[in-house]
């Protein structure tokens, strides 16, 4: 453990009795946390456990209702992010806050220009960036435009921004969500360098593997409370998962080997060009058979969304797609109804933007996309709302949606329960093909287990499933075959038992991987 503590006993960060309520929701309840300087401290917890709220309080976005913050032993008030920066706290957000058309240098000095003229600031920043790059392996071309950089590079710019503002404490919120495994490894090397130079790092993540790999200590949050803080060396992923959920969790999925049948989905030479004229799918071909799950791995933004869009009927494309041997018309826009009629059910990547109408009640969402179904109609003119409500109540019970109230707005359910509503809608139709995007994004561990079991059950019932996910763990544990997408192409196909994260990671980065 390089450079940890070093005999110095004053904590870098000390939170005492922090509480914060939003209306009736108690987001943080009497939270105390001590982080020693020169360490990497992980914070894990399910969605809605209060991690982001706590960090937002530390960064001055929210004001705590009660409690005290001490930085390097001194009690301070952090009314806004300027004060946080002055106290030496830097934050790297999950969604980058960069000005896309500006250069790296311009983004770094934004908000901390020295005077009215830019030139001296830029010159100073250029020198500083060179030094930081050398110290921490944070190499970025200072004159590159942000819009031309990849996500890994953008993240480095965010880290540089914080360091340029002389941050001693760096908070990273889910930093690896958008990175390839190789990029994530590089990020961890950077973090280790920062630690060895005495910086303090708080890492918020839901990936227990990362916690185990890099942190010195880890805190677990559950329902707004800090339930444990332990030395990483003295815990295990199983124990952490149990602490997060409050009960025993199966981290590994039991499933029978697949018994694939006939070809349900055949895709040949699929091409999609977006409005800007950029080709997003460059000749994708794949097959999914009845009773198997084909997992599509890849870093977000390599054409997976377009593949789902074409199959779900929201994007026109060229090429050939056959469902149960029948070719479907790819030229039409808004073909969602035709796709559903052809037997394709679609669990979209973003349930809040696409999969649900957040203002609609649960029962209105339970027929969304299938509202032309005769079962939804009382007569030619009117819908049969009572029947839909009854059907919804039944499905909510099947899928353990909590609370099981058909008359609650979708927005009032937690992420996991929202996803269960979408899954109930799509799975209970017994589709020939289910296409699923990020089935467990933003879903708590307990619900992940449930959702995975439902997908396996659907497979075992003979449906073909195309699974798109950026979570390699999920791909590896659910899929019967794995295809890796990079830059609009399928880089290769593997069986889960003959591959590993490293091999997939190489293909996700555009290399051919190990010789198959």
């Amino acid at each position: 453990m390089a450079g940890a503590a070093g005999g110095q006993r004053v904590p870098a960060i000390e939170l005492r009795g922090i509480s914060k309520a939003f209306g009736p929701v108690q987001a943080n309840r009497d939270i105390s946390l001590t982080v020693m300087p020169g360490t990497i401290h992980g914070i894990v917890g399910e969605n809605g456990a209060g991690k982001s709220t706590l960090m937002s309080i530390l960064y001055g976005f929210y004001k705590a209702d009660t409690g005290e913050i001490r930085i390097a032993g001194r009690p301070i008030q952090i009314p806004d992010s300027q004060a946080a920066i002055r106290a030496g706290i830097g934050m790297v957000f999950q969604h980058f806050k960069l000005v896309e058309p500006f250069t790296v240098l311009e983004n770094v000095i934004l908000g901390v220009e020295d005077g009215r003229l830019l030139r001296p600031s830029l010159a100073r920043a250029r020198g500083e960036l060179t030094r930081l790059a050398a110290d921490y392996e944070l190499h970025v071309d200072p004159d590159a435009r942000i819009e031309d950089l990849g996500v890994g590079m953008k993240q480095r710019v965010e880290i540089l921004k914080a360091l340029y503002r002389q941050a001693d404490i760096l908070i990273l919120d889910e930093p690896t969500g958008v990175l390839t495994p190789a990029e994530a490894d590089h990020l961890f090397r950077i973090l280790e360098n920062l630690r060895s130079q005495g910086k303090t790092i708080i890492l918020i993540t839901h990936k227990l593997r990362e916690i185990m790999a890099i942190t010195d200590t880890v805190s677990v949050m559950r329902r707004g409370q800090m339930v444990a803080t332990v030395a990483t060396a003295q815990t295990s992923p199983g124990e952490l998962a149990e602490l997060m959920v409050g009960r025993k969790v199966l981290l590994h999925l039991d499933k029978k080997p697949a018994a694939p049948g006939r070809n349900v989905l055949e895709v040949k030479n699929l091409r999609v060009t977006d409005i800007d004229g950029v080709e997003r799918l460059k000749g994708v071909s794949l097959t999914v058979r009845a009773g198997e799950i084909l997992g599509i791995a890849g870093v977000a933004g390599n054409g997976q969304s377009q593949l789902l869009g074409v199959l779900g009927g929201t994007l026109p494309a060229s090429g050939i797609v056959r469902i149960e041997g029948q070719a479907i018309d790819l030229g039409a826009r808004n073909a969602g109804q035709a796709r559903r009629a052809a037997g394709i059910a679609h669990v979209p990547e973003d349930r809040q933007r696409e999969g649900l109408v957040m203002e609609f009640l649960a029962w209105e969402n339970m027929i969304f996309g299938y509202h032309h179904d005769p079962a939804c109609q009382r007569n030619r003119a009117l819908m049969d709302n009572a029947a839909i409500r009854a059907m919804t109540a039944e499905r909510m019970e099947h899928f353990d949606v909590r609370p099981p109230d058909p008359d609650l707005q979708a927005r009032n359910f937690s992420g996991g329960n929202q996803q269960k509503i979408v899954l109930a809608r799509e799975i209970e139709r017994n589709p020939a093909l289910l296409i699923v995007g990020q089935p467990t994004r933003g879903v708590d561990i307990g619900a992940i287990e449930f959702i995975h079991q439902r997908l396996i059950a659907l497979r075992d019932a003979g449906a073909a499933i195309l699974l798109v996910s950026v979570e390699l763990d999920e791909i590896l544990s659910l899929s019967d075959r794995i295809a890796v997408m990079f830059d609009g192409r399928i880089m290769g196909e593997r069986r889960p038992e003959e591959t590993d994260e490293k091999d997939l990671g190489l293909m996700m980065a555009g290399m051919r991987g190990k010789a198959a």
């Binding site: 009736p24 009927g313 808004n334 203002e359 996309g369 509202h371 709302n385």
Partner: protein, 365 residues
């Protein structure tokens, strides 16, 4: 997560508190110009509600506002801001005039459905062009409907001056409609029941059609597949596309219904009251409809109540201008305050009330 407030507080208490605040501020303004606010309120209430004559005018105005308010509300359910109610109502008037003058109608019961159909068709047609431009070209419907208000005014001006004006007449208006098209007023409708409603007030059978329109709009929005799709599209376009809902179809449907409702207003003011088509017959009711829909939370029942309120303000305000030294502009100020408080400053009332309800709940728990 629980709601911060019970539903009744959201739907009833907030508009009520907003209204009280708006009237309180209006009272201050009246004080500031040296008049007596209590006397003013008394005058408004007695003028608008104190006689069947006052009621007749209040309900007449309210009828106009129900139609234009529903028009804005339906479009807004699809998140389309139809500001063209004014122009659509003008064209609705043209439809009514053409139908009433084209045939020797034997009885109003025949003329009424025909004229209503004409009003709805002309109003819908006038909304169709901006709707089509929005749906297929992305031209913003706010801009195009406003422009179509001016075009509608110019078209009517031309037609009334050059084409439809009877030979020898001096004012830009059509001929009087034949007696077979004259609609029964509330006086005529209530007389058989032994109720003596004012003969001079313009409120007529169209008020009942307006109520029927509220029910119909509610049915369409919350009980039919089309309404379901309109509301889904209004809440989230990406979700609608995911579900296979066709945006062009929804934009067209919502705007055509909206235009038809605005056009229907002409049955009240052109056929029911003026009994001929005059220039500027709509008198700003198209714009009042925006405020009515805003205050009515784009819900037919809310629109109905808000239209009654604005009918009261209109008639009460006219009485105020007639009988006191308070200028007519004052009533515009009061209306503006009502719109400001019930629409734009919603959160100003909502947040303290939410906090109050939370405190109450904590106290009980």
């Amino acid at each position: 997560m629980r709601e911060a407030m019970p539903k009744w507080a959201d739907l009833v208490l907030i508009p009520l508190v907003s209204l009280v605040l708006a009237f309180a501020l209006s009272a201050l303004v009246i004080l500031a110009i040296g008049e007596d606010p209590v006397a003013a309120v008394r005058m408004m209430v007695s003028g608008a509600l104190g006689s069947t004559y006052g009621w007749g005018y209040t309900l007449y105005y309210a009828t106009n506002f129900i139609f234009t308010g529903l028009a804005v509300a339906v479009a807004f359910q699809a998140r389309l801001f139809n500001i063209g109610g004014e122009g659509q109502a003008m064209l609705g008037g043209l439809g009514v005039a053409l139908i009433c003058l084209s045939l020797p109608w034997p009885h109003w019961a025949l003329a009424l459905p025909a004229a209503a159909l004409g009003a709805a068709l002309f109003g819908a047609a006038w909304a169709a062009i901006p709707a089509w431009l929005q749906a297929t070209r992305g031209s913003h419907v706010v801009i195009t409907t406003i422009m179509f208000n001016f075009i509608a005014a110019a078209v009517l001006n031309y037609l009334l001056v050059n084409v439809m004006r009877p030979i020898g007449a001096m004012d830009p208006a059509t001929a009087k409609f034949p007696p077979g098209t004259h609609l029964p007023s509330l006086h005529d409708l209530l007389a058989p029941f032994g109720f003596a409603f004012s003969r001079a007030a313009p409120a007529n059978i169209t008020f009942l059609i307006a109520i029927a329109a509220c029910v119909l709009v509610w049915l369409i929005l919350w009980r039919t597949r089309l309404g379901y799709e309109i509301r889904a599209y209004g809440h989230s376009e990406p979700a609608a596309i995911y579900a296979g809902i066709k945006p062009v179809r929804i934009v067209m449907a919502a705007m055509l219904i909206s235009g038809a409702l605005a056009g229907l207003m002409a049955v009240n003011n052109v056929m029911g009251e003026a009994e001929r088509l005059v220039l500027n017959a709509v008198e700003g009711a198209g714009f009042i409809g925006i405020a009515v829909a805003l205050m009515g939370r784009s819900h037919p029942f809310g629109v109905f109540l808000a239209a009654l309120l604005f009918g009261f303000l209109y008639q009460g305000g006219a009485e105020l201008a007639l009988w006191t030294d308070i200028p007519r502009e004052m009533i515009v100020v009061i209306q503006a305050l009502v719109i400001l408080f019930t629409g734009a400053l919603d959160n100003m009332v909502r947040m303290p009330l939410e906090r109050l309800f939370l405190a109450l709940r904590r106290g009980r728990a």
